[in-house]
Amino acid sequence: MRRLLLLGAAICLVGWLAWRYGGVTPLFGTVTAAMPNPEDGKVANGVYTNDYFSLSYPLPQGWAEGLAGPEPSHLGYYALRTLIPRAEPDATILIAAQDTFFADKPLSNAVEAASDFRRAMSEIEGMTIDREPLQMQIADHLVERVDFSGVGLYRAMFVTEARCHLVSFNLTARDPEQLARLALSVNSLSFAGREDVPSPAPACVKNYAIAENLLWKVEPAIPGSAFTPIPVRITIGVDGKVKHVHVIRATADQRKSIEHALAQWQLRPYAAQGRAVEIETGLVFQSKQMGM
């Protein structure tokens, strides 16, 4: 009997954990199966790991996590992690990502992003571009680097593309030598992923969940605030079913409604080289309640 009770408690706990972190939609099956999302990265044992991007970054010696940033935005922007030195604050690192499916500005790759960033920085009064966009290869990824400075702060932005996101490392230091040391740490980036996380990641295909690919669709009844776009990423399995839903920014009620509807969608499986493959795509929901 005691075992049964312990089992019951364990079920309670697992159920709650799934509800709290997984957003399970029980009625129509699990559509948020244990697949990572961009914001799920963490720092452990001096390493930042992000299973969604298969990314790992050993923190510089003596560094730790800073304060958490805001929730993902309605345009698919993530302040993934802030890193700071444990001792005297003389530098910071912000790891960020922008989902290219939902960005205001359609920048699709690191070269475009670096060029646009360089232009934007040059327009700020007193900001100097210290290094024009420089292309490099880190862990089989094309990475663009731009260095700039102003008012005694020395900064560098490294940007690369992963799963239709622009992932950036934004370094700020009090002096150029410190910036150079931090920049070296970016060379330790790895996109190999962990052995226990499924790979490779599904291909990302923009705007796949459109009418011509939809075989069955249920519209979510989106409650609450109107006029704010709700960006959603879904993974579509080889059978055309929605395998994973990531409602990037919404209220809890909106999230539930969207997950519930998407669990019922059936799409035409995506075909590559004559065979069905798993993909991820994005779509935007919006509630427009007004008038009579």
């Binding site: 009997m1 005691r2 009770l5 312990l6 019951g8 408690a9 309670c12 706990l13 709650w16 709290r20 800073g66 304060l67 958490a68 940033g69 805001p70 929730e71 935005s73 309605h74 345009l75 922007y77 302040a79 802030t82 700071i84 604050p89 003389d90 530098a91 910071t92 912000l94 960020a96 960005a103 205001d104 500005k105 992003a113 646009d116 960033f117 934007a120 920085m121 327009e123 700020i124 009064e125 007193g126 900001m127 102003g150 008012v151 005694g152 702060l153 900064r155 932005m157 950036s168 934004n170 700020t172 230091a173 009090r174 605030s225 109107a226 006029f227 704010t228 209220t251 427009k288 007004m290």
Partner: protein, 505 residues
């Protein structure tokens, strides 16, 4: 016994769930004076004991309170008439109460001139007992503290409240015989951490803000998206539930227009029903003394004789709207103007053009006194720092109006130092109140024009120290965290220069 074991097991799980939920909410607490305190403070003050010093409220004549330059004689007459109504003190026969926070618009919006924000002496202290009223002063209202309104986060049953609970009642006043309603029990609500505060927002230059198109605001928000993305900043607009357009007034940008802002404040803050909000919030029959709406548009004969035919036929909230619409923006200190005028960048050059045009217009505005060359250099440096560290990513320097029926509001480039968008300010500033699309942690970027002559900062007036206000932007979940980190990385001189610049505005 075994039943108890099972209950314990699930209770532990429940406790864990509750703990998780409560930890994810705003970490607010009230101290004895009712001041909201961040219980999840950032990692220490900016630089304790050695940090920059807020120069304090800029002295000299108020660089605000006059009309926009270039008004026609009839517009000027309307503004003059409206100013008188804005500063008028209401009594019960003219509509005050039954519940209210103060008896005059101009009482709250007073610093450094009519239309501004909270004055140095809090008029709510005297209002508590005016005309024999027997109100108890809540602990969070003090003689030298900010004017405050109070909102309750939740109802007794735990459902969200969010509404304004007026501080005072008209019970006991000589002009309200028989009314005996009671004030809310603020002490009890404070004890259960259920009270948040808001201070008055300045209204200078709001006609310009109202005259920017939605596309103009959207373009400004998108223009520096790349810079913002390197700082952890995003932002979004609040929208009207009626027509879907961007709302822009109030601490959470919850009000669509100056007319809605006027009508709501007249009823909520002063208890005066009007054509926009025609019904009393407090319906106790012993406290109803007037026909409603108490302020309404005259349909037959004008109720005033002011020299402005339009004002004579206007109800009060139209006059408030007109006053705010025609009110000039605050004038920065002359050193800021000088530095702007010598700048070579197009953005700042357009700013200086506008300021120069304001100063050369012959308006009644008086620029604050010139400051020394050393201060001027520091201020100019501070302006550059403001942009470089990322303050200007949200407090955007410049917007341009579209076409307006008022020529003085048409195609004007102005410097509100705000994008009028909502940003997540983290658990340190969170008030747990949702308004429109804004959630409990989001606030509109506070426009910084005129901040040099403001006394209290942040939505609840928790500090009168700009350095503390900057520090308070940083907490778990805030979009401003990286910018505050950048501020920390600055040299002491540069931190000081930034504060000097802010006090020059």
């Amino acid at each position: 016994m075994r039943k108890i074991d099972f209950l314990h097991s699930c209770s532990i799980v429940s406790i864990m769930m509750l703990a998780s939920v409560s930890l994810s909410g705003p970490a607010l607490a009230q101290n004895a004076a009712g001041t909201t305190v961040n219980t999840a403070a950032p990692r220490g003050p900016v630089d304790p004991g050695r940090g920059p010093v807020d120069p304090g409220v800029r002295g000299g004549a108020p660089g605000a309170g006059g009309p926009l330059p270039g008004l026609s004689p009839l517009e000027q007459a309307f503004f003059n008439a409206a100013t008188g109504i804005f500063t008028e003190v209401e009594t019960v026969p003219t509509g005050l109460g039954p519940r209210f926070n103060l008896d005059s618009c101009g009482g709250c919006h007073a610093q450094p001139a009519a239309g501004g924000s909270s004055p140095p002496t809090n008029p709510q202290v005297a209002a508590a007992t005016t005309q024999g009223a027997n109100n108890t002063l809540p602990s969070f209202i003090t003689a030298n503290g900010p004017v405050r309104e109070a909102r309750f986060v939740s109802n007794p049953d735990g459902t969200p409240d969010g509404g304004v609970h007026d501080l005072f009642v008209i019970s006991g006043r000589s002009d309200a015989p028989g009314c005996n309603i009671q004030q809310p029990n603020f002490a009890a609500e404070l004890a259960r951490g259920n009270v948040i505060f808001r201070i008055p927002t300045p209204t200078f230059g709001l006609g310009l803000v109202e005259s920017v198109s939605d596309s103009g605001l959207q373009a400004a928000l998108a223009a520096n998206a790349q810079f913002k993305s390197s700082l952890g900043i995003s932002g979004r607009f609040n929208h009207s539930g009626n027509d879907g357009t961007i709302t822009r007034f109030g601490w959470k940008a919850q009000n669509k227009s100056l007319l809605v802002f006027s009508g709501e404040a007249y009823n909520v803050e002063m208890g005066v029903t009007n054509d926009a909000f025609p019904n009393e919030r407090e319906t106790n029959p012993s406290c109803q003394f007037n026909e409603t709406p108490e302020s309404t548009t005259p349909l037959t004969t004008p109720t005033k004789s002011s020299g402005s035919p339009a004002a004579d036929y206007a109800q009060d909230i139209i006059l408030f709207t007109g006053f705010m619409r025609l009110l000039a923006p605050p004038t920065p200190a002359s050193s800021t103007i000088a530095s702007a005028a010598t700048s070579s960048t197009s953005t700042v050059a357009s700013a200086s053009d506008n300021i120069a045009s304001v100063l050369s217009s012959g308006s009644s505005m008086t620029a604050a006194p010139a400051i020394s060359a050393m201060q001027s250099a520091s201020t100019a440096r501070g302006q550059q720092i403001f942009s470089n560290v990322g303050c200007g990513a949200c407090h955007v320097p410049s917007l341009t109006t579209g076409k307006s029926p008022v020529a003085a509001l048409t195609n004007v480039t102005f410097q509100p130092l705000s994008d009028f968008a909502l940003h997540d300010m983290g658990i340190g500033l969170a008030d747990g109140i949702s308004q429109g699309n804004a959630n409990g942690r989001e606030f509109r970027t506070a426009p910084l024009w005129g901040v040099g002559q403001r006394l209290f900062f942040l939505h609840d007036g928790r500090t009168n120290d700009l350095a503390v206000a900057i520090q308070q932007h940083q907490s778990q979940g805030s979009e401003a965290n990286e910018v505050v980190e950048n501020f920390r990385l600055l040299s002491a001189n540069d931190q000081q220069a930034l504060l000097n610049y802010l006090r020059s505005l």
